[in-house]
Subunit: 340 residues, 2 copies
């Protein structure tokens, strides 16, 4: 053994020791805004088991996939999805470009500002608004419009940008999983192109790891002959319910080892994840904290709001299958990072 080799050997041992102790220290801190309890314990057990090469439930790094619903799981969905707010807010700009829409429903109602009438709009009406505000422009135009809206819009309750309404404990979970070799994906019923605009900045999740309801784009050329992609009013993937595992197969091609959701639209994703071999983690967020966030069910006797998609059927299935229920009230020390 040469002197350099000995020196290197010593250095490696020392580095390994330093690395090991910093990992231990870091492990303890990853979920610092989670209370000790079954949810936190289940997460840590899952990560330690599946990343331990000596454990027979070890998962090779390339297979470490974790999928997260967005609305109600990573950020606030109540009382109305953020993307729907975006669409409603975009209506005046769309009408400015097409003035003939001003006297046509449902645009007339949206322009009236009558909140009760807007709340009564049918699903068909909402789809017309979605088509008018999310399609017909180039992808770049759409991205610019979303960025500009996110920079200025504020939610009425917390007076924060919507991108601040993410749950701090879930941000910790995303980072903890990534630090252990898991690739974190968003699998949302919301618009794939919409979420991709801010996913890296808000969640540290790159656009290629966002699976969502996806419309077609049409390849063409602008006046100068430059290639463009135009957003079309044609749905390719309705990424909700059975569409979630189908979308995961289409876009990722691997079954996740961990999945987190909060509504009946996540049921199939959780089932599909949990049914795989070895140790899997399936979790649902229960909105049972009316003081710090919202309280809605109807499972577990929580109020059945219009949005209420956390149904008793989902809760029953969670209990039957051993999915972990995350209580916002009981499991989370703090909900938002701006609450300091």
């Amino acid at each position: 053994m040469t002197r350099i080799a000995r020196t290197l050997g010593l250095a490696f041992v020392t580095l390994a020791t330093l690395a090991a102790s910093s990992v231990t220290l870091a492990q303890a801190d990853w979920l610092s805004h989670w209370n000790d309890g079954p949810a936190k314990q289940a997460i840590i057990k899952f990560v330690q088991t599946t990343t331990d090469p000596k454990n027979r439930q070890f998962v090779p790094p390339e297979q470490r996939i974790a999928t997260f619903d967005q609305d109600g799981t990573l950020w606030v969905e109540h009382p109305i999805y953020t993307q729907v707010l975006y669409c409603l807010d975009r209506v005046p700009a769309v009408v400015k470009q097409k003035p003939e829409l001003a006297s046509v429903e449902p645009f007339k109602t949206v322009l009236s500002g009558d909140r009760e009438a807007i709340a009564r709009l049918s699903m068909d009406d909402l789809l017309k608004i979605v088509a008018a505000t999310l399609t017909g422009m180039t992808l770049e135009q759409f991205q610019t419009e979303v960025e500009s809206w996110l920079a200025t819009a504020r939610d009425p309750r917390w007076k924060q940008p919507y991108t601040e309404l993410t749950y701090l404990p879930m941000q910790e979970l995303l980072k903890y999983l990534r630090a252990n070799g898991y690739r974190t994906y968003i699998v949302t019923g919301g618009g794939q192109d919409f979420v991709r605009v801010y996913s890296q900045q808000v969640y540290g999740i790159p656009p290629e790891q966002v699976v969502g309801s996806a419309g077609a784009t049409k390849y063409g050329y602008d006046k100068s002959g430059k290639p463009i992609l135009i957003k079309e009013p044609k749905l390719l993937l309705n990424d909700d319910h059975a569409g979630k595992p189908e979308g995961i197969q289409l876009m990722i091609g691997r079954r996740p080892y961990a999945a987190v959701g909060n509504s009946i639209g996540d049921r199939q994703m959780l089932e599909y994840t949990h049914a795989g071999d070895g140790l899997r983690l399936a979790m649902i967020v229960l909105h049972d904290d009316p003081k710090r966030e919202y309280s809605y069910g109807p499972a577990r006797g929580l109020p059945d709001t219009k949005l209420g998609t956390f149904t008793q059927a989902l809760y029953d299935e969670a209990e039957k299958n051993g999915w972990i229920v995350i209580s916002m009230k009981g499991d989370w020390k703090q909900i938002f990072s701006f609450e300091q």
Copy 2:
């Protein structure tokens, strides 16, 4: 400075020196089966420029995406696509399960083994065969069938498994790009599920980085209640021509910095890539080597075979736009890794 710190310091310097010299050595070797020429020079210039933080055309690692067509670009496509051979070979097994098909066209012709009659089958006939052999089973069954076929099927000319018919210089290019932080994707008109079965083993490309023509899957349950995905005869993405940039947007959500193809079906992907800001690399493989592989055009006066999708229009556009033409005959020292 403590003794350990000094030791560590020395070790780091030594490690850094070792690492730097091995990188330099490796750089020179990455494309060792390419002849020196405009193609090799363009590749090296592209990689060195876009990975140099001091260069104004530097590309941040997260944006380093390179997309590769498969058939005719990464492996042999002549005289018939490998996946079509798979479908034809699967017909007897399908007929065994559904004996009524034995007397129905086009299955009757395929079973006859009459090569000339099979070669005359119409596109409609081929689509019937594709639907019968690629859909109607669970995803796992399909994957098992493809794996088993790949393990035993041999091409008639080289007597090799089809997975050995990849171009060694392109394998080098994939590795060279990955070593420089590029994520390599396959963007193929072929079936996404088919290519994903072998992409990791054959190209070092994981399933989530395969974009291809994609059929729907249907989520359901087997007899024991376990979730399954059934492959459906419904096309979600026709990943050819304009479908390539559209598929890239759907599945990746970023414009590539490098794209390599060989046929008119790759034109839009190359255009879209090349039209982005900064330095981009667009290349097409010219099959001009009848001795070591095949020769077909019709561009540049090469024979216009039935398959011939390397058209003069594509070649004209390449010349106009400054896309790099890779001559198999002139640019590649060796075509296959089994030729030693």
